[in-house]
Symmetry: C2
Subunit: 231 residues, 2 copies
DNA sequence: CAGTGTTAGTGTAAATATTCAACTAAGTTA
DNA sequence: TAACTTAGTTGAATATTTACACTAACACTG
């Protein structure tokens, strides 16, 4: 057996992001158009090198890329997976650490002007975006969608896609969109109460031409709450 | 905004493994003693550089390290997480891709002679191993344990720690060990039947000085089955 | 200002699942 | 053959889930 301790392998390493938000067309992902080779002109998940001088850790690098592309600073952010292989980048053995970010609807609206030139929102259709993507990004996006759809079943994930204040009906509607099925209203409300990740915003009500609804906000906008049972 | 496309950041990158098996003392993890600096003499999770010429992808690198240290070729293997920061390795900005491996009890016994010299099994106590580990490996091990304990609640994970053939009573006993609580026998059997990841080994029974028990094996030794409800 | 439409939020009976413990089954051992 | 041990099943009491109907609170209409 040989020791490789002084023969450090240094692959090409990037941090790539699957950034999601809700648009009128449903769940959408942020894509950029690549300026340079390889895959120049193709769409890709936004990403970038880790800046060895600037980024203290991988999550900091992910937050930096996110801010560069969207202007948003405090999203829900979670590491998805790392892929690395000889063949995924024509320039050689490369590694990509993939993060998932969820942007609240009002954060997206407010920072519209801060969004990077080359970035655009694309609605999700089925398992992807109906476009071929650079590198293995189509497969990374598919994994990200699988993770998100899985977590909708037993976590507060959809709450991170809404504006800061929302009603229970709006929240239920996001769950239904992401799950692709209808939920029972009373069972839904019971789950939300048990899971204990919402707090009512005192004195604030959604008013329309019908009974006003209590508004809620997430107790913690940064972290997911996992349920005891499926929704 | 600057482009860094030709300024590829190349960190130090290793694949590290949290390899678990069952010993008489319960769940155990494989540790190695480091031969070289940094942390020479300390215990660490087994790991190594990706071999750019030899490993097609990250999982291949993980399987190679696993085989070098244990002699086992076909374990349950799953990527846990990737950590990367300026400070985790005194040699500079470094990345570690961490995998979890589960070894079946008979695989461990059979390959005892193939196990690496410097490797040893240490029983888990609480959130770790009661030893300080090199780098941030204590924290990586803690994350690995959290992942495992979480999955025991709603997956076939414990089945991957048993010998290839086992009885339902043995399986229940492993669930109980990992969960730290007793389970109801009839409810347990109902769950296992619903989850549908076991198949009876026809004609084989465990015989002792009592009623013989049907033996079972995993339908798929490589993959986990997730349950609809908690166990 | 009564009537209607619409969405918010609650209540309840029937169906389903869980729990707890007792029971039967099939072998070995004395 | 009786006692012992572990395998595997059954069932009644209790808790939870589901489906759906009900009440509540507003705006709008005439």
């Amino acid at each position: 057996m040989t020791t490789h301790d002084n023969d450090a392998f240094k692959p090409i390493a990037t941090v790539d992001l699957a950034i999601f938000s809700l648009s009128p067309a449903g769940l959408s992902v942020l894509l950029v158009r690549r300026a340079n080779a390889p895959f120049a002109g193709d769409r890709a998940l936004p990403g970038g090198w880790v800046h060895i001088d600037e980024d203290a850790d991988l999550e900091a690098a992910a937050r930096r890329v996110l801010k560069e592309k969207t202007g948003v600073e405090t999203p829900y952010l979670e590491q998805l997976q790392t892929t690395g292989s000889r063949s995924r980048d024509p320039r050689g053995w490369s590694i990509s650490i993939v993060y998932i970010a969820l942007l609240s609807a009002d954060a997206v609206a407010k920072r519209q002007d801060l969004m990077a030139e080359e970035a655009e929102w694309r609605p999700i259709e089925g398992e992807g975006v109906g476009l071929s993507l650079a590198f293995d990004h189509a497969s990374l996006l598919k994994e990200a969608l699988a993770r998100i759809r899985g977590k909708v079943e037993y976590s507060s994930l959809p709450g991170h896609l809404l504006p800061v204040r929302f009603t229970l009906s709006e929240l239920q509607s996001v769950y239904e969109t992401l799950l692709g099925r209808k939920l029972d209203k009373s069972a839904f409300r019971k789950r939300m109460a048990e899971a204990d990740f919402l707090e009512p915003v005192e004195g604030e009500m959604r008013r329309a031409s019908n009974r006003p609804a209590q508004m809620f906000r997430l107790k913690d906008a940064q972290s997911l709450v996992l349920f005891d049972r499926r929704i």
